[in-house]
Symmetry: C2
Subunit: 229 residues, 2 copies
Amino acid sequence: MKVAVLGTGSVGQSLSAKLASLGHEVKMGTRDVAASRERKGVDNFGQPLVGEWLSSPAAKKVQLTTFLEATKGADLVVLATLGQIAHDVLASCGQHLDGKVILDITNPLDFSKGFPPTLSVCNTASLGEQLQAAFPKARFVKSLNTLSNPVMVKPDLVPGDHNVFVSGNDETAKQQVKALLESFGWKAASIIDVGDITTARATEMLLPLWVRLFGAWKTPMFNFAVRRA
Amino acid sequence: MKVAVLGTGSVGQSLSAKLASLGHEVKMGTRDVAASRERKGVDNFGQPLVGEWLSSPAAKKVQLTTFLEATKGADLVVLATLGQIAHDVLASCGQHLDGKVILDITNPLDFSKGFPPTLSVCNTASLGEQLQAAFPKARFVKSLNTLSNPVMVKPDLVPGDHNVFVSGNDETAKQQVKALLESFGWKAASIIDVGDITTARATEMLLPLWVRLFGAWKTPMFNFAVRRA
């Protein structure tokens, strides 16, 4: 299918590469294509910047274009930007979001006061809910926001059973996202449907623990699980 | 050792019974001893109210007394009240908390607007931090607040590896709590020391997901785990 991946950071790169490897037609959306192409070198975590990444084998079949062009005609939109710009990015796509499934991987992390970040919205609302309310014709599914990007697309990087959560109001959209997750290697039994989009509060509120464990362990190679009796 | 368990609900009952079965001298604290003894029958979850529970075999060696009397001379204090009354309960113990380790199981759950509850404090603070700041001579260790009370004292009720978190400023106090958890059946490797008391924000913020999963699955018999690569 035709997939728009919005965001050129490490999450966007991982998702784009995986989707392309699965045979999907991937357009990676960015604000300024020429500026993105110029971004060479690596980020603070040693991940390639998008201009660097585009010349890697993994990116060979990924087309870089604007947010608007990426979403035009897309069958699925993957929202992989920083939480703080998610609303503006989606707004720049005009009517091309209407009716579409948006796999929303964002978190409302606020690093303005350093580490650990706080959440810019939580408890009585969530970024997932705010975006669904702002773009009511799109069908948001919050998922993959509770784990690091290498594990998102290759769950067996973390051994044993662990989980990914799904929140959204539209059952058909959730089914489509679950099928996509299974194509990434997630077992159906490992995908926990938490409920409607208000449950994005609960999964976004996992991030403070994720961030603390990352701080304590100095590695993002872990994931949450829920064990049932 | 002499343990004060503050709170007479199902968490206080489970902890008191387990501690007594391990040979500790347990005093269960309550606001009004006579009124507590009169509380017969069961709660909304079918758990016995404290007056009923006191006549069960599990409670045979547990002495019901006031919060103040329970903490007088205690080696360890277990805080197992509702979050909303935790401060007042501790204040009623006077100077008997000074220097003591407080195993704080509370969560700042606010059910005033129904289900699901919100948190009355989160993100930039936590109940754990507020209590530590209000009673600076006590040594708070937030733990066991992310799972249901049967599993707290019998972790193998949930199969497989799963975790309990520990947060606190005092390393000696955390070691004491970890040893206690091990005596309950927790493996040392299953106890995750998240860091200082500010990390209580992260574990208290797990509750919204706990509550949503409880709502979806209609059972409290599950627990969180973290899988590492």
